[in-house]
Amino acid sequence: MHAHAAAGALTMSGPPDFAVINAGQLVRQATGGDIDAFEALVRRFQRQVYGFAVQHLRDVDEAQDLAQEIFVKLYRNLARFDSTRPFEPWFWKLAANTTINYRRKRVPATTDENLELRGEAAEQAQHDPTLVDALAQLDPAYRLPILLHYYADLSLEQVASSLGVTLPAVKSRLHRARALLRNSLAELDESNR
C-alpha cells in the first residue's frame, strides 16, 4: 500500500509529497541534488536520531551536536548508498560509526554532572525514569548495542554489522547489557522503596 502511494506521488505533476515517498527514493532524489528531498529525510529521522543521541549521551547539547553530525555525514555519504538495499540499516550503521567516533573525540567519561537532562527533553525521556537512570549507568560499550537493537530496531545481524563484530559477540554483549540493566533496576527499585 505504501509502495503504491509512493509511486502515485512520483507520477503526479506538481511538487512531490515527501511524506509518502520511501526513504530509499528520498535518498536517490537527494543524491541527484534535490535538497528538499534531503530535508524531508532529516525530518523523517530527526526524532529517532535525536532520541538515540539523548539516550546515549545523556546531554541535550551534545545530543544535538551528535544528531547534526550524523545528518551532515549522511549528506556527504549519500552517493555511497546502494539503492538496491534497504536504507535504514545502512543509515544506522553510519549513525553508529559516527557515534563511536564522536565519543572518542568529544565526550569525556561519564560523570554524575553530565547525566542530567533538562527541560522538555528530560520530561519526554523520563517517562520510565528508573530505566533511563539504569541506562545512564551502563557502560557505553553496552549501551550502544542496546539502543541500536531495541531503540533503533535494528536486527541482531545489522547491529553486528554496524559495530563491526560477530553475531555471537553481539548476542553476548546484549545478554550482558541486559543483565547489568536488570541488576541496576533491582538496585534502583530497592533504593526507591
Partner: protein, 180 residues
C-alpha cells in the same frame, strides 16, 4: 530464598536468565533450560529477576524519543546548503582570473609575443647587471611592462585567495554551523 532449588545455584541461574528468556538456552542446552524452569518455579527472588528480564526488552522498545529542537533541522540544512552555494561562488570568482589571463594572452600576442618578452627580459637583466656594477645608466622600464607586472601580481593574489576558499570547501568545519 532457597540456595539451590531445581539443583541450580541462584548465582548460576541469574547468569543464565537472558539466554533463557531469548530461548538460546533451550536450543543450546535443553537439560539446563529444564533445570532453570524448575529453579524459577521454586525461587521467588530469581523469578522476580526473570520477570524483570522478560519485561526489559519491551520497556526499552517503549522508551519515548524526545522532540528534537527546531534548531536541529535548521542547523543541518544550514551546514549542507553552503557547500553548494560556496562552490558556485568559487566558480564565479574565476571570472576575474579568466579576464586577467585573456589580457595577458592578448598582450603577449601568442608565442611571438612570449619570445619577445623573454628576449626583452634577458636584455633588461643585462642592463640591470651592468647598472649594478656601474658600467651603464639605470634601465628605462616600458609602461606596458609595468601593466603586465601588475596583472601578474593581481593574478597571483586572486589565485591564492581562490586556493584558500577551495581548501575551506574541501574540509568544511561543522562547528561553524553548529549553533547558528
Amino acid at each position: 530464598m532457597t540456595d539451590q532449588p531445581g539443583d541450580l545455584a541462584c548465582a548460576r541461574a541469574r547468569v543464565l536468565i537472558e539466554a533463557y528468556v531469548d530461548g538460546d538456552l533451550a536450543r543450546t542446552d535443553p537439560d539446563l533450560a529444564a533445570r532453570m524452569k524448575v529453579h524459577l518455579a521454586d525461587c521467588d527472588d530469581c523469578r522476580k529477576q526473570y520477570q524483570q528480564a522478560v519485561s526489559l526488552p519491551f520497556r526499552l522498545k517503549a522508551l519515548r524519543a524526545p522532540q528534537p529542537p527546531p534548531s536541529l533541522l535548521t542547523n543541518v540544512m544550514h551546514a549542507v546548503r553552503p557547500e553548494r552555494g560556496e562552490s558556485r561562488r568559487a566558480w564565479a570568482l574565476l571570472i576575474p582570473e579568466a579576464a586577467l589571463v585573456a589580457f595577458i594572452v592578448w598582450y603577449l600576442s601568442g608565442l611571438d609575443g612570449l619570445a619577445s618578452v623573454a628576449s626583452g627580459t634577458v636584455s633588461d637583466l643585462q642592463v640591470l647587471l651592468n647598472w649594478g656594477v656601474g658600467a651603464a645608466q639605470p634601465p628605462s622600464i616600458p609602461v606596458a611592462d609595468v601593466f603586465l607586472l601588475a596583472a601578474l601580481i593581481a593574478l597571483a593574489i586572486t589565485a591564492a585567495y581562490h586556493l584558500a576558499i577551495l581548501s575551506r570547501l574541501s574540509a568544511p568545519t561543522l562547528r561553524e554551523h553548529r549553533r547558528a
